[in-house]
């Protein structure tokens, strides 16, 4: 047995758990939870063991594949070979650790959070399916495998977001998430087709080798409109990430996805689903040309800013975190777009890793608050939770500090690497506009997070539920404490060195103390800017929201108050999409339906049926059976013939 069989087992265990729950243990709640949690825990242990033993395969990637589909025709280019397998390199193994590690804690936490739910077994089956699908993306060896699991992640999220399907809002949110993702997948699949038609292959390693040694075969393939096909292929593949990672303009599903159970939100927002988009971009970084990367960076930067602005005026604790996820994802996508010689992808994966930890922490903390206040999600109906829920509060503070990017928390280091990737004077691949946007986001993030903490946790309780809130049980708080560790220390572990090595970039660890003060060493100005803005945001928000009963921001802005309405209403994107795109699709459908009913089935089919019948009736009238009538017709005919001949 080869060592990499361990990862095959780790990969298939959650699927086995999902199948076993669906078939055998639906009635047994404890067994279902045990199977699901056991599977992911074992997956985590196996992955960790393999990573330690092989030192993350840093020497060279390992792959193992079975053939899923293979067709080879006679004509040139009429061949399609698709494998399903596992690709083991530092990138996929690190991501596996994040997915299984964070996922495991969320599974355990769910045992407490969902304990009274009648759909307990179904919940754990879906959770395991979700984990399996996500691992399929992480381990994918080729584009088609990635697409397959991409879709499976989509459907698992549909099942989990709409978990409480009896609630119309949840059912609608699941549907919206799935369809919005499908729009992105439409582009993704076209991109895959385009890449396949150029390279005749879908395997990552083959295509990457091809590009490294023979140049990008897409370059010579001409243009579509004004876009070269090489750029177009990159942008189409990026569409997939736009859907999954909820980038503008397909970001609208993510906030609605809050309708799912809170641990699911944590899973979607931290380690799986939305991370898949960024991971996919990093995995397929070889396919993007400079022009495509620029578009990607611009979309990412725009999303980061837009989402941060929206977060400033939300009142729902989960929605604030949802928009902050959007914004951080925008950061990561922007970093990928500013790749340079691998610095961007390194920064993106670095931030993805640290963010997975502290965002899971924040969501699980929010879940703990929601549970304690009897499913209250509006921060203005909370308050004063600091004293009543100390474990939740302090871990939440740690997560907040990491998200704000305060040194020495993990978020500071990864955010700093993104800022340095964007800073034009550091590596020459940066972009001034995007750097400024990144700085604005670095100011807005602490602002809205401080607002959240001040309103929900500080001050006095505003409702009875908040007044009588109790700390959550150990099964929920222990995962919080565990997650607080990476939120503090993950920045000191030199994680970026692993990614930098993989992407061929350079990580700055010149001295032993570089692990802690690295950012100040190699780009002190950027680090100072980031920290300064974070402190400024924190200071302004704590001034504004200390003991506030309602949101003072609209008044403070005075004439600019309408901006807060825009933020609160999410810049009306949902309404615009509803009016324009959904309505257009619906109009097409109505026209087609009308045409089908009245023109094809009505006029043409019934019409020809009617005409035939009418002719039949008319002709029948002639058949009177009366000999005199027939004789008269014959004579008339003869006369007519004679006249015709005479005239001619």
């Amino acid at each position: 047995m080869d060592l990499h069989s361990l990862i095959w087992i780790a990969f298939l265990l959650p699927l086995a758990a999902a199948v076993a729950i669906a078939l055998f243990t639906r009635g047994n709640r404890q067994a279902s939870a045990g199977l699901s949690i056991g599977a992911i825990t074992l997956s985590f242990i196996l992955t960790a063991a393999y990573s330690v033993v092989t030192a993350l395969n840093q020497g060279g990637a390992k792959a193992s594949e079975i053939t899923w589909l293979s067709v080879n025709g006679s004509a040139p280019g009429d061949a399609l070979n698709i494998g399903l397998g596992i690709l083991l390199d530092p990138l996929s193994l690190m991501m596996m650790m994040v997915v299984t590690g964070v996922g495991m804690l969320i599974h355990i936490y769910s045992r407490g959070y969902m304990k009274d739910d009648p759909g307990y077994s179904r919940y754990f089956a879906c959770l395991s399916l979700f984990t399996f699908s996500m691992m399929g993306i992480v381990l994918a060896t080729n584009f088609v495998q990635m697409f397959i699991f991409w879709e499976l992640v989509g459907v698992s999220s549909y099942l989990l977001i709409g978990f409480w399907f009896g609630r119309p809002a949840a059912a609608d949110a699941g549907k919206k998430a799935f369809i919005t993702n499908r729009i992105g997948d439409f582009g993704f699949l076209l991109g895959i087709l385009l890449v396949w038609s150029a390279f005749g292959e879908v395997s990552f390693s083959v295509i990457a080798d091809d590009i490294a040694h023979g140049g990008n075969k897409l370059v010579g393939m001409g243009k579509f409109g004004c876009l070269p096909l090489a750029t177009l292929a990159g942008l189409l593949i990026f569409c997939g990430a736009v859907g999954k990672s909820a980038q503008f303009p397909l970001h609208v599903w993510l906030p609605d996805a809050m309708e799912g159970p809170t641990p699911v939100s944590a899973l979607i927002h931290a380690a799986t689903m939305v991370a898949a988009g960024v991971y996919m971009l990093c995995r397929t970084i070889f396919i993007f040309d400079d022009c495509a990367l620029l578009y990607i960076a611009a979309i990412g930067g725009f999303t980061a800013l837009l989402a941060a602005l929206m977060a400033v005026q939300q009142d729902d604790i989960k929605r604030i975190l949802a928009y902050s996820t959007l914004s951080q994802l925008g950061y990561m996508v922007m970093a990928v777009g500013l790749n340079g010689h691998g610095e961007g992808a390194t920064a993106a994966m670095y931030h993805l890793t640290t963010h997975a930890g502290f965002k899971a922490l924040l969501f699980l903390g929010a879940g703990s608050v929601i549970c304690a206040t009897h499913h209250e999600q509006n921060i203005w109906r909370m308050g004063g939770l600091r004293d009543r829920m100390p474990s939740t509060y302090w871990t939440f503070i740690v997560g907040t500090a990491a998200l704000m990017g305060l040194p020495p928390f993990s978020g500071f280091y990864s955010k700093d690497s993104i800022l340095s990737a964007a800073a034009p004077w550091i590596n020459g691949h940066g972009n001034v506009i995007l750097f400024v946007i990144a700085l604005i986001v670095a100011f807005l993030t602490p602002f809205y997070m401080t607002r959240l903490v001040c309103v929900a946790f500080h001050g006095g309780a505003r409702t009875d539920h908040a007044r009588h809130a109790k700390e959550s049980p150990g099964v929920m708080t222990k995962p919080l404490w565990i997650l607080a560790f990476p939120a503090v220390f993950a920045g000191w572990a030199g994680i970026d060195a692993i990614f930098a090595d993989h992407f061929g970039a350079h990580a700055h660890y010149d001295h032993w103390y570089s692990y802690i003060v690295g950012p100040m060493e190699h780009a002190p100005f950027v680090a100072a800017m980031g920290t300064g803005l974070a402190l400024l945001g924190w200071y302004m928000a704590s001034l504004l929201y200390k003991d506030a009963e309602t949101d003072p921001l609209p008044e403070k802005l005075g004439a600019l108050g309408f901006v807060t309405t825009l933020m609160r209403r999410r810049f009306f994107f949902d309404e615009i999409y509803q009016r324009v795109f959904v309505a257009a699709h619906d109009a097409f459908a109505s026209v087609a339906n009308w045409f089908d009913r009245w023109i094809i089935a009505g006029l043409l089919v019934r019409g020809s049926h009617g005409t035939t019948e009418l002719v039949g009736r008319v002709v029948r009238m002639l058949q009177t059976g009366n000999l005199q009538t027939y004789a008269a017709f014959s004579i008339l005919g003869a006369v007519a013939l004679v006249i015709v001949f005479l005239i001619a």
């Binding site: 053939t67 899923w68 589909l69 293979s70 067709v71 080879n72 025709g73 006679s74 004509a75 040139p76 280019g77 009429d78 061949a79 399609l80 088609v144 697409f147 397959i148 699991f149 879709e151 499976l152 459907v155 549909y158 709409g162 399907f165 009896g166 119309p168 059912a171 609608d172 549907k175 799935f178 369809i179 499908r182 729009i183 997948d185 439409f186 699949l189 076209l190 087709l193 396949w196 038609s197 699709h585 619906d586 097409f588 459908a589 109505s590 026209v591 087609a592 339906n593 089908d596 094809i600 089935a601 043409l604 089919v605 049926h609």
Partner: protein, 521 residues
């Protein structure tokens, strides 16, 4: 009698035997039908397993004279193209028999006789290597459809639906018959009905382009009408909406595939130049199926009309795969045929179950059923997901192959087809789930429903789902069988290219080597 002959003979023999059953023995009629179709399904699975993968020719051949003087034989055999169809047809036949138990409450004996004739007929048609028998068996399957809709059908439009489906399908059959006769007459004396011999004859002495150009459209539109090619599709949703469950399952799932099978087996390889000339039109018409019928499905309020339109839409992928004339596309088309047969049977079976419980399929009057119907609801969610091309189900593998196959020849058509598969399909399928299973229970129409509790009620759905999942996880089980046979067909259809190259060879002998390579591969 070998395995294959038994598969076809058993349903007919069972139907024959049932004629002598006393009318009052209703349960016995059901049991005989179930036993016969069950045996057929088991034999078909055995046939599929025993089928030797990788060989291009026919296996399990058997020949029994029918009218020797005319050269007509009961000549059966399977190759990669029809082995999956026979498996699918037999499984759907068994499932259709199972779901009829609760639905058919009067004249059971006649119903099961017709159903058995239908199953035997379509399996015989797929297995026939004789063009005459191929058509003859199809008529056996077709005629019971009309009777079943007329007698056991439902809804106010039942009579109009019967009338319409009969007219359409008879017209389609007649046009394709004209095409088949024209094809038969093109072969030199002594003429043969044997498909393999005919294909060989036409490969060695191709039919003149002018004739091909007339025969191919006859076959394309004749078969096309039978498959609900846009714009000749309006019979399908209405017919299926009015048909008893088993009939809808059999027709939408299995019998409809006759036209597609005919296109792949006969029209394309025997009239390659006609195909080259006419298939681009088919590629555009398939958008009518995929996009237009997809849009129509979005607007349906009745579940059966939604499924019916989506079933018509799915036929578009098969047309696109055939039109691509690549091995990837044609293999994918055959895969979609098998997958869609199972899926259509599954969805119509489920909607029939639902109708049996609620007596309505108006989606506005449903809602929140998933709580009361955990099994049926879960099966329905899976079916709808398979219908919008979710990986893991065989439909995805087939559709993806069609896209890969058609991409180079028809990039724009493929782009729109991908939109139809990924977005439009998802919109109407999820809407059905949302309206029927999710949400709150409809306050005006509170019903108490019984889930399929025992194995007999679950078996048909579980069997269809399991088959879809098996071929979805391991499409290679099918594609590796399809590939050698499909390759012969695609190469025959693309023969025009090799001949063109041969002509060019005279001018440029240096390029000869390449052509040889292509021929050998």
């Amino acid at each position: 009698m070998n395995n294959l002959t038994l598969i076809i003979a058993i349903p007919f023999l069972a139907a024959l035997g049932m004629l002598f059953l006393p009318r009052r023995e209703k349960d016995l009629a059901q049991q005989v039908a179930m036993l016969a179709t069950g045996a057929t399904a088991l034999l078909a699975i055995a046939l599929f397993v025993k089928f030797e993968t990788g060989l291009p020719g026919f296996q399990f051949e058997s020949k029994i004279p029918f009218a020797k003087a005319l050269g007509i034989w009961f000549h059966f055999g399977v190759d990669g193209v029809n082995v999956g169809l026979i498996l699918m047809g037999a499984i759907v036949g068994f499932a259709a028999t199972c779901v009829s138990f609760d639905e058919i409450r009067d004249r059971q004996k006649e119903f099961y006789i017709l159903l058995l004739v239908m199953i035997g007929g379509i399996l015989g048609s797929f297995a026939s290597m004789d063009i005459f028998m191929f058509f003859f068996f199809h008529e056996f399957a077709l005629v019971p459809t009309f009777i079943m809709i007329g007698v056991w059908g439902r809804g106010v439009d039942k009579n109009y639906a019967t009338f319409k489906i009969t007219l359409y399908l008879v017209v389609g059959s007649m046009i394709s018959l004209a095409g088949l006769i024209a094809l038969y007459l093109q072969a030199p004396e002594p003429r043969t009905f044997n498909m393999v011999e005919l294909a060989q004859i036409f490969r060695d002495n191709p039919i003149a382009f002018g004739q091909q150009n007339l025969i191919f459209p006859l076959l394309m539109f004749g078969f096309g009408i039978l498959v609900s090619l846009w714009p000749f599709h309006t019979w399908a949703p209405l017919g299926y909406g009015s048909a008893p469950t088993a009939t809808a399952m059999m027709h939408a799932g299995v019998i409809k595939k006759f036209g597609l099978y005919g296109l792949i087996r006969i029209a394309v390889p025997m009239c390659p130049e006609g195909a080259q000339n006419w298939l681009p039109l088919l590629a555009f018409l398939c958008l009518g199926n995929i996009l237009y019928c997809g849009f129509v499905a979005m607007k349906q309020k009745d579940l059966n009309l939604l499924i019916g339109n989506s079933s018509v839409a799915h036929m578009g992928f098969v047309f696109l795969g055939i039109a691509s004339l690549t091995l990837i596309g044609v293999t994918g088309a055959v895969l979609v045929m098998v997958a869609h047969g199972l899926l259509a049977a599954l969805t119509f079976g489920l909607s029939g179950y639902l109708y049996g419980q609620t007596r309505t399929l108006d989606m506005d009057r449903m809602g929140g059923y998933l709580n009361q119907l955990p099994f049926i609801g879960a099966a329905m969610v899976m079916a709808m997901m398979a219908g919008c091309g979710l990986p893991g189900f065989a439909n995805f593998a087939g559709e993806a192959m069609v896209f890969f196959g058609a991409w180079k020849a028809y990039p724009f058509v493929t782009t729109l087809a991908v939109w139809g598969a990924l977005v439009i399909g998802a919109v109407y399928m999820l809407r059905a789930i949302r309206n029927i299973l999710h949400g709150e229970e409809n306050a005006d129409n509170k019903v108490s429903l019984n889930d399929a509790a025992d194995w007999r009620k679950r078996a048909p759905f579980a069997l269809l789902l399991a088959t879809l999942l098996v071929f979805g996880f391991a499409p290679r089980l099918l594609t590796s069988k399809i590939q050698p046979s499909a390759k012969a067909i695609v190469d025959a259809a693309n023969g025009i290219e090799t001949r063109l190259v041969e002509v060019a060879q005279l001018d440029a002998p240096a390029k000869g080597g390449e052509t040889d390579l292509n021929d050998v591969e």
